[in-house]
Symmetry: D3
Subunit: 254 residues, 6 copies
Amino acid sequence: MPNKVKEAWKAGKAVVNGWLAIPNAFSAEMYSQCGWDSVTVDMQHGVQDYLSCVACFQGIAASGSGATPMVRVPWNEPGIVGKVLDAGAYGVICPMVNTPQEAANLVQYAKYPPAGTRSNGPIRAGAYGSAGGYQATANDEILVIPMIETKQAIENIEAILDVPGIDGIYIGPSDLSFSYGLTPKLDVEDPFILDIYEKLLKETSKRGIAAGLHNGTPEYANRMIKMGFKLVTIANEVGLMVAASKNAVKVARG
Amino acid sequence: MPNKVKEAWKAGKAVVNGWLAIPNAFSAEMYSQCGWDSVTVDMQHGVQDYLSCVACFQGIAASGSGATPMVRVPWNEPGIVGKVLDAGAYGVICPMVNTPQEAANLVQYAKYPPAGTRSNGPIRAGAYGSAGGYQATANDEILVIPMIETKQAIENIEAILDVPGIDGIYIGPSDLSFSYGLTPKLDVEDPFILDIYEKLLKETSKRGIAAGLHNGTPEYANRMIKMGFKLVTIANEVGLMVAASKNAVKVARG
Amino acid sequence: MPNKVKEAWKAGKAVVNGWLAIPNAFSAEMYSQCGWDSVTVDMQHGVQDYLSCVACFQGIAASGSGATPMVRVPWNEPGIVGKVLDAGAYGVICPMVNTPQEAANLVQYAKYPPAGTRSNGPIRAGAYGSAGGYQATANDEILVIPMIETKQAIENIEAILDVPGIDGIYIGPSDLSFSYGLTPKLDVEDPFILDIYEKLLKETSKRGIAAGLHNGTPEYANRMIKMGFKLVTIANEVGLMVAASKNAVKVARG
Amino acid sequence: MPNKVKEAWKAGKAVVNGWLAIPNAFSAEMYSQCGWDSVTVDMQHGVQDYLSCVACFQGIAASGSGATPMVRVPWNEPGIVGKVLDAGAYGVICPMVNTPQEAANLVQYAKYPPAGTRSNGPIRAGAYGSAGGYQATANDEILVIPMIETKQAIENIEAILDVPGIDGIYIGPSDLSFSYGLTPKLDVEDPFILDIYEKLLKETSKRGIAAGLHNGTPEYANRMIKMGFKLVTIANEVGLMVAASKNAVKVARG
Amino acid sequence: MPNKVKEAWKAGKAVVNGWLAIPNAFSAEMYSQCGWDSVTVDMQHGVQDYLSCVACFQGIAASGSGATPMVRVPWNEPGIVGKVLDAGAYGVICPMVNTPQEAANLVQYAKYPPAGTRSNGPIRAGAYGSAGGYQATANDEILVIPMIETKQAIENIEAILDVPGIDGIYIGPSDLSFSYGLTPKLDVEDPFILDIYEKLLKETSKRGIAAGLHNGTPEYANRMIKMGFKLVTIANEVGLMVAASKNAVKVARG
Amino acid sequence: MPNKVKEAWKAGKAVVNGWLAIPNAFSAEMYSQCGWDSVTVDMQHGVQDYLSCVACFQGIAASGSGATPMVRVPWNEPGIVGKVLDAGAYGVICPMVNTPQEAANLVQYAKYPPAGTRSNGPIRAGAYGSAGGYQATANDEILVIPMIETKQAIENIEAILDVPGIDGIYIGPSDLSFSYGLTPKLDVEDPFILDIYEKLLKETSKRGIAAGLHNGTPEYANRMIKMGFKLVTIANEVGLMVAASKNAVKVARG
């Protein structure tokens, strides 16, 4: 299965990414049919763990939509990075990468030798490998995406982006605001934060890597694609469900 | 906990009912906070079984919303009717009740002696019973709601409604259309079906019992409340999620 | 593994039986180490379904206690009777057996040909069969135990007990009281009910089969053993936990 | 997705069918990549229930093998037949169909009006429907396959096969032997049973419907294809695993 | 929902705390109705992981008892601390905090900026936030409670307690004894250990923070409240169940 | 229950070890009856997490085979090492131990004081302890087995093996090859790698500790026993199932 995110990025295009917080394969399967280019299991803030991530990956695959499965790991820790890759993730988004060393660690956990120290044993991923063999292509195919979401990360941004093996970055707007002493929120209009976005777009673009952003609404996500972001997420599936449900109740009551 | 549906019906008011197809307590909990008067676990067409129903009931209760938990059982069978009531259902919606005998069977399964033959052992339900004791009030508190969704049921409607212990009916529009040789659908405009609705509203109203309807959209549900329905459901939680997601993808792509 | 209940009954002894309502193998495993002769998974009023029953059976076996696994099925239905036997039940307790025909149905569901029509495929049970083969001994080894818990069953008692293949009966005191218009309760002192117990003990004893009883307290259970009951259950594991917890809180508060 | 079994049968070819007893989506997914034309979740004798069946269906779909998902239901009961079809089964194998009435009941449960009384709500199945809509094609696409596995069924065979809507039959060799007073086994050589097979092949062939058989070994299955069977199953996945494991231990020990 | 533990501590009162080892929401729900002020999911030594913790939190909430949900994390690791807080924990008990640096790390993981580096995304916790918003009050509301259970921790106790953000400590008596070369046990009478308790009570009291203790029996727990402990736990739910069960079997046997 | 691995090693014998990747207790139970001396739950590359490990341990115990339960942890991290030991592991295999410090850390996490810092609370393990008490014998009974699978580990091998508390080593052939720039594979014939095996056998033998190896086929495993390995694993259960299934399909098709 081709990595749609990687292909889009090569073609200079943006992807619209789904986000799974509900630990259920049926929910994941239905959601994956909605047109997302990729669907990410959120193991950090979502109600997800490793086995629910595997179940969601199966739901994504079962949907037949070709959506690329990715994961946000709970933390920059080698055990879980290896496990989600073995389960078939085509991309790893890692929270709170604040220094070049942390970025280098992430790359090391996610890449087979000689680029890294990932252990061999792609239990589910290997079953779907290309003809040349999963291990031969994994280092190229799998996206390594640190989250840039703190003041410290912004201050270190050039060194972080220079770490070999980084394919893109993902911005967590609410943590970023929080770390600058602002109220945490998505879809920010604060010029201070928007300036940071511009800087990150420039620095990533300069290095031929992509920038992604978590958004609260599809309208804002669309604006961010136009601004230059190459991966946009809209809330998560439970957030969309809750918003639609509240509206449905209101309309039904009249 | 009061039965909101029963209270509303006593007051002549309509309730807006949620519908759970995703077998997950977290999803159920979040959904239950959206303003529904009652939330029904759909064990017939939803991806639900008995243990997921219990989990969803816990999600509904955990939400603190006071939404009344109900269930649609997969079939008119005494084992499962007893089990969902023991788990804490305040109402049982039963599919495909086509004759007075089937309606009487349903009542028998759902009521303690002498009204019925339900077996005693409200493992979860009893823990939340009123001061007078769960067993003393269950026959009054718990709603028995056969689904009227076939030509045969319509032909038997008066005898079905006359069965003692029936608190209301619930119409499945797509099965009803199907059984008359029409294309199965929700939110019907076919005058033939709408005439049946009118007849059912008249016959239930005459007997002081309520009529409920499954709807596809909140707008139609609102119209049906105005027409006289006392319980309206809008699709289910996964349907609302899918519709919202497809729209989000479209808007994000621009 | 020998059937401890059958062996005890042959020796004229009573067994102390555990009762599982929590659908969890760890809980079942710990509980099974407490000295019970047999442990019954309650699929009727317990929070149990088929897969949790299998998990509990594994917990019982894992405990190494040699406690005999039994099950109370949710209803007298051939599908579930076959499934729990395939999973390794050594005894089936079936609720609400009120007529000889219902008793004969139960026997039919639980026995291989020619005694019954149970389908062959003991997926888990067969793996632990005796040298002669599970299928060759199952009809003898597995206990068929209808519940006697209604006025109708009492009125039919001799004919029910005469059904070939019945190994014992199990009395549900609260349903029995309920069906006679009394308040449902365990550990009854009402002479009317106690007279029924005496009659059941006499009729079962006459036929060389055993009578069992569900009890609320171990003291009452002990008294019932002395009265002649050959299988006594004490509440269930969650009931014992709740009682112990309430007491612990009270003592800790002083 | 095309129904591979139906297509093969139309073309006069036999299918090799997998059989799932382990209630786990990962196991199902890996097994589904092994070349089976169809994979059947065994809810009767396998350690499976409704939700594990859904999970296995997702595993089958996630495998990308195009194997057609089918199910053996635990019993001829309308609730479960409807639920597994809603979950996406392309074929229903039903145990212990012994009379034309039982066969007609099965057809009724599995077909939408006017051919039957299946209720509308294909929660998972509908999401993968053809352009014309799942409901419009389901009655044609979904295979209804009663099991012929008792003396009584053999005696009624012509009338059973004449029931409209039957697409094939499936023989359970061990139950068939059992019901004739023989030792239950697979891969029988007893001429008496083989004669029955011949008769069933003749009667099905005459009516243009298919006959399937459960086998213990692939060698026997191959022979049965040559004999005329159009669907052959080989043990189940756990049986293959156990046999391979015992052999591996033996070889490793030397 | 108010934090009962925090309120009690403000008022100078002790709380009686429950402890969950069984990974099941039903068990947790029933146990939570027994009068505990708070209920802690034990992810270190209990049979619990992140998703079972979420399920238990839902069970606690569903009980309607108002018991405050807390967690003992398996280790002092930022990923899991963030996840349990997002799930709705009102307090984090962390094992084996032996140095001020480890205590400071724990505070950092558990607090939003500027007090710490917890990442924003309270998926379940946020849904129940106060009017002012969960993020605005979380740092104040959530209790950070390191376990003091080694010789090293005792030697560093003043520096540990001086770490800003520590709300209390929790003593693990068996590990504490173990680290001093004594036999590990609860409800110790060894004057050497009791002297340590006195010292810990004095040092915490001096700083206006609370001391908690794990107990084996409610009698000892009551004594410890009188000694000055502000949070006492009694064994866990499975321990109480096992003790009650062993006793029930003994009494039933006579 | 005796530790079969330890006993065999004391007697100078080799053990044949099973390997579980499927997160299911039924599958584990059936597999554990196949003759393995020990069965290891693979939490690194298997589709396993902590709760599935507990379930598999129950399956192993329920099998009654006496197979010794072990685990490969996902990473050298104290939280998970403690949890699997509390769950009843008799041996811990830890991936990627490359330095004496890492080996010493592993020992520290796995041993009670004074040999290490493992926290006391053997929730499931303690229930099966010897008469003298689980805590008194655990440090002796439980095997600590670092994986030697990198160039760095080979370079540090003598210092690693000299770390007190190491009972054996386990070689991961594919990672070992990978780290030397070779293609990752099992059952290697490359003399360079085989020389490393010889060296490891010599160094372990010299110190009276055992060497284990992961194998792809039972034939190779047998050869390795002859070469001196004291623990050999053959693929895993899902690998054996897949190989057997592919072969069955091929044979059935003819």
